[in-house]
Symmetry: C2
Subunit: 242 residues, 2 copies
């Protein structure tokens, strides 16, 4: 009986997912954009240890290992940690893509403009939604994280990381766009290098930040569609610090 | 001696203000936009009482007086409260502009695109920065508020209110834009009517929300420049709920 109930549940999930996918495709097909349905990754096994270690090292004025990269001449052999909240993996920049694909089964999408459709936004924090994005000769990682920076108040943080060094990241600009219910929110910035910990980008709040109520306004049936575009950098025309 | 120290302080403030104004003018003159230097209004005399009253009435399922307007046929005689956090004024829609100008000395600026330069962002929460903006035959109110939604964590909330009814507000779209340090953040939405309490817009988070660190990244010498544009409404081309 339990087996049949589970099977029925799985079939319902599949129908729901296909419905969401087709709906998203219909919405964004006019713009000719590729839609990627992204399910959450939320294993929390190592999260607490890793956060505590990162916090302790920052408090002692020691940068986490992922920051010690500038002295290495070949960017491919730079030591690097896995950007997922839940993963303790450490290796080199040249193998982080294969680690993400093989261990976390993260998809790679092609194209300069895509739509990231994160499902199950109601899941408790911390949760990550991640895709890899290949364009302009490089690979980028979009990380959407639900996290409680203030206890009892989960927020959503979205940022784009280049799988490369900080100097390579400076050559690009990424844009994240939410558009629903007569509201539009756009965030444009230089991607951060994957060698800078995603945890510190998020704790600094230097990314697109959404509180739960705004995320609900932008989401549809528990899924949040984020339009992503990457371009080569140009100085913003009305840059305020000129 | 105290008198001379105070005079010297006042002169220094004036020089600082003029410097900020000229700097802002220089930055935005290329775009031909009007820059308005906005000083904070942070009298808190009545704030606690008003908030407590609003909260109590919401908890009891009673809407505050500013919501009871739909039954009145002439929008000009609709009862209305002052949108400032600190002010207990109650009156009619037709006199709210003169109240804001006379009691709070809020400037009115002309033009569809202006730059709002909020000074002294470091002041403790709650603090309001407010201007009136006259364009397209209507008057709008930009409210920037620093408030601690989570204790010990002040955030900035920016929203545009139409001095008119909700149905009049639906005819417009406003855009707020921050642009500095290779980051750009844009928020587009329908203005809310001044008859809807600004407190509830902010507590719902249905506005541009900035945490302190992001506000610091976008600000220059303690001042935050927000580009404002108002247009007549059109359906967003890639509206996700089509």
């Amino acid at each position: 009986m339990l087996f049949f109930t589970q099977c029925f549940g799985a079939v319902l999930d599949l129908i729901h997912l296909r419905f969401q996918h087709y709906k998203a495709k219909r919405v964004f097909s006019a713009a000719g954009q590729l839609v990627c349905v992204v399910n959450p990754t939320h294993s929390l096994k190592y999260a607490a240890t890793r956060c505590a270690a990162a916090q302790a090292s920052t408090e002692q004025g020691i940068l986490p290992p992922c920051h010690h990269h500038e002295a290495v001449h070949d960017p491919q052999v730079v030591p690097c940690t896995c950007p997922l909240f839940s993963c303790p993996w450490e290796g080199h920049l040249e193998v982080v893509v294969s680690h993400l694909r093989q261990t976390h089964r993260i998809s790679i999408l092609q194209g300069a403009e895509i739509v990231f459709l994160a499902t199950d936004m109601h899941l408790p924090a911390p949760t990550d939604w991640i895709i890899m994005h290949s364009c302009l000769g490089h690979q980028f990682l979009l990380v959407l994280r639900k996290q409680e920076k203030y206890e009892g108040h989960p927020q959503f943080f979205a940022t784009m990381m280049l799988i490369g060094t900080p100097s390579q990241a400076n050559n690009f600009t990424y844009r994240l766009e939410l558009n629903r219910n007569q509201r539009r929110l756009k965030w444009e910035a230089t991607p951060r290098s994957i060698l800078e910990c995603v945890d510190s980008v998020i704790s600094d709040g230097d990314c697109l930040v959404l509180n739960t109520s705004l995320a609900q306004l932008f989401s549809d049936n528990g899924s949040l569609a984020i339009g992503i575009a990457i371009t080569t950098s140009k100085v913003h025309s009305s840059e305020a610090e000129m």
